[in-house]
Symmetry: C2
Subunit: 131 residues, 2 copies
């Protein structure tokens, strides 16, 4: 149906996006990491909760996942005389986040064509039926 040449070796797996590390790609964790990316000193639990619009339970769960994956470190201490939790990106986390980001930019570039393409009527599809 398509006019393109048969898929070449080079094209194979062109859209597999293996660089989109799953632990980072999950929507809420992507928000947490993006907010931490520019905050080298880290962010408090309460700040993250508000910035990412997450419940206490959800944020706690995602923090555990990110910590166990080595992407962030968690500190306990006091801030304004109240016990607080501080999260910040590890050096390894930053490197892996940058790798992820490079792949994400590739997705955006690959998808750019979508803006200019119209969906045509199904011409040339005689004998084809929708299912």
């Amino acid at each position: 149906m398509t006019e393109q040449e048969p898929t070449s070796e080079k094209q194979a797996a062109r859209f597999a996006y293996t660089g989109l590390e799953r632990v980072i790609h999950e929507k809420a964790r992507l928000g947490i990491l993006t907010s931490l990316a520019s905050q080298s000193q880290g962010l408090l639990f309460t700040e993250l909760k508000e910035l990412c619009a997450l419940t206490d339970g959800n944020l706690s769960r995602h923090i555990t996942v990110l910590q166990e994956a080595g992407l962030i470190e968690v500190w306990k201490g006091f801030h304004r005389k109240r016990p607080q939790t501080l999260c910040r990106m590890t050096k390894e986390g930053r490197a892996r986040f940058l790798d992820y980001l490079a792949e994400l930019q590739r997705v955006v570039a690959d998808a750019a064509d979508a803006r200019t393409v119209d969906v045509p009527k199904p011409t040339g599809m005689e004998g084809w039926t929708p299912v």
Copy 2:
């Protein structure tokens, strides 16, 4: 710990990324949709399988999800005298994919700072302990 001002109303949920529609955001489906985005005539099942490096079972499962979500349409027919399945993006799917893409570009822009930030030693964190 951070130098920033308390989170303002405007900043609240700044990193929630509500525009990252979950059905599109899943890694394999993002690959499928990105490959279909520039192919207005659609792609055959066998082409998608190779381009996205998916097994028959996985691709079938994701196609069902995308079809039920109204993002793609599925056609059955013959190509080179063999029964084939053709997938292509619906008009609605294209619009929703573009919305998703706009939000994805916001993530990339927000994360851009990560490239230039060094992780400092934990100074000014007296009384804080890693957990």
